[in-house]
Symmetry: C2
Subunit: 339 residues, 2 copies
């Protein structure tokens, strides 16, 4: 078994560890989201962490009822024109904690006296040392270039902050059930991905999501690219239908993420439109006849923790079809030091 697959299968245990060790501290941090002087959240991230940031944009936006902005790190580094941050709560997300541009945003926030939280798997990293508060991801050492358990635990950490901010016993209860549901999802998706055939000759594909699973679409596309070298892209169902759908030819592979919830109707419309164009659809949904079945009973706000799993396993399967070595994806490094 590849290192990557081993780490991917560690996800339920890694998530359980995060919840066990950090729930109490997260409950403390949750209060930050309701501070009177917090008018918006500003998130700095790169790579897979930016996909987790999209989950935070929806979930923490709903928790704090303020908009969530993504930092443009180049304004802090290349252009040296950092903005005034009064009103901001700044969250830096970096699995390695090494990204200099994510750190630059957190440093600037501290200089301006704003509250800062780092979500990182490395509590002794430069980012962790910069931030006022650190929520460790507790994923354990991740050795694969492609992030799996650190990604899932980034989502878990964001869900913890959400549960903390709602002070709602129901939310804590739903979150506590997730390690078991991620384990069940893994089992189901291993079986489903084994049944996928005939993708050996594809040239690429598209992943579509909306609302809280918008970030999941990006993460699945990224994972497939990293592991198989196939060109996959991600779109919001709403934006795709605005024009970019012109490039979806008959037989083009499309993975559609459609768990139950408020975004389901919009996804159904997009799926119908894609089917009319004769795209080759792989739907991630609860329906028993979905190609990539979701375990039932996961509430919508936690659905990104399970929807990513079939995506990771499809990525692994496509890499197998292509004969790529998932532990040594061509030309990639674990940590990229973008300035």
């Amino acid at each position: 078994m590849s290192l990557l697959e081993r780490e991917l299968r560690e996800q339920p245990a890694a998530l359980a560890r995060l919840l066990e060790r950090q729930s109490e501290y997260a409950a403390e941090l949750g209060a930050l989201l309701h501070r009177d002087d917090v008018r918006y959240l500003l998130i700095a991230s790169r790579g897979s962490s930016s996909n987790a940031a999209r989950y935070a944009q929806y979930l923490l936006g709903r928790a704090s009822r303020v908009p969530v902005a993504f930092a443009t790190p180049s304004l802090y580094t290349l252009y040296e024109q950092p903005p005034r941050l009064d009103g901001a709560l700044v969250v830096g997300i970096s699995q390695s904690g090494e990204s200099p541009d994510v750190k630059a945003v957190v440093d600037e926030a501290r200089r301006q006296g704003r509250p800062t939280i780092a979500l990182t798997n490395e509590p002794a990293s430069p980012l962790a040392l910069s931030a006022e508060a650190v929520l460790p991801l507790e994923a354990g050492k991740e050795r694969s270039v492609a992030a799996t358990k650190t990604y899932l635990n980034s989502l878990g950490a964001i869900a913890l902050l959400f549960a903390a901010s709602t002070r709602d016993a129901q939310a804590w209860h739903e979150l506590a059930r997730m390690p078991a549901q991620v384990a069940a999802q893994l089992e189901r998706s291993v079986a489903d991905s084994a049944r996928i055939e005939g993708y050996g000759a594809i040239g690429g594909g598209t992943v579509v999501g909306r609302g809280i699973n918008y970030g999941s679409a990006f993460e699945i596309a990224l994972k497939i690219r990293e592991l198989s070298g196939l060109l996959f892209e991600a779109w919001s169902a709403a934006d795709l239908m605005h024009g970019p759908v012109a490039a979806i030819a008959p037989d083009w592979p499309v993975i559609a993420i459609a768990p139950p919830g408020p975004a389901f109707a919009s996804m159904e419309t997009a799926i119908a439109g894609l089917a009319a164009r004769r795209a080759r659809l792989l739907v991630i949904a609860e329906a028993e006849d979905a190609a990539l079945r979701l375990v039932p009973g996961v509430p919508e706000w936690l659905s990104p923790l399970v929807t990513v799993i079939p995506g990771q396993l499809v990525a692994l399967r496509l890499a197998e079809f292509r004969g790529t070595d998932v532990d040594n994806p061509h030309g990639l490094q674990k940590v990229t030091l973008t300035r």
Copy 2:
């Protein structure tokens, strides 16, 4: 000549009209960016307008020295949990002014008593009627499905707001020269795109930009998709190198946007990395030996008004290679009513 090409060639005249008719009013609106109670900008948009919004994120962020956030329209519509907007200045961008979700964000801002500006080509549209202030794009009627002159004038309107907010005579002077520079750029790019050969059999491509031209990368990729049906995608040079570059195979077409300015060094590094992977590079730059040459002397803050032109002409050329009818791109409509 196609309708699209005719409208594309009207861009210098359309931009001149915008500057002539709206400079005075924009100077008035510019003061909004410096209101004491504005702690961040919130932009709502879809499609091409979202690419213009990325320009606003950099430029208006620098003008007002506050972060610029993009609204997540589904929080206002699908999830019915609009955020508290105190501290926000809300900008809605929609060429048609018909997009219901962009309007939903502006409506909510007005309900909460926040200042709102609409940038639209239709001053009698629902969006224009919702917003407190309307800056008309003055592009004239656009009949093509693919936006060209309305996109350029969206950038022009954002540049006007920037010039107004700086109250700097130099900025106004630089902006006033742009219609002539866009005309010169058109002429140069018509010549350069005619020299492009051997792209008849490509399967897709990637467009890379950074900083102020991040949005230009998305707009060029979108235009190529819309006109030729080829699958083009866009990346920030920083994010691409974090993992997605794994999918860039030898001979894969890559358009790199590298005008002079603070992002140039970072683009040079990315171009070197892509060349090492033997990507098939088309560089948009001032250098005389660039495949897609930029007219010299355009200041960096205005560079997106010229960098998009070679992209539009490459899109037209690729459509010609593919034999697609650019006035009737398959299955697209001018206005998409996403809720």
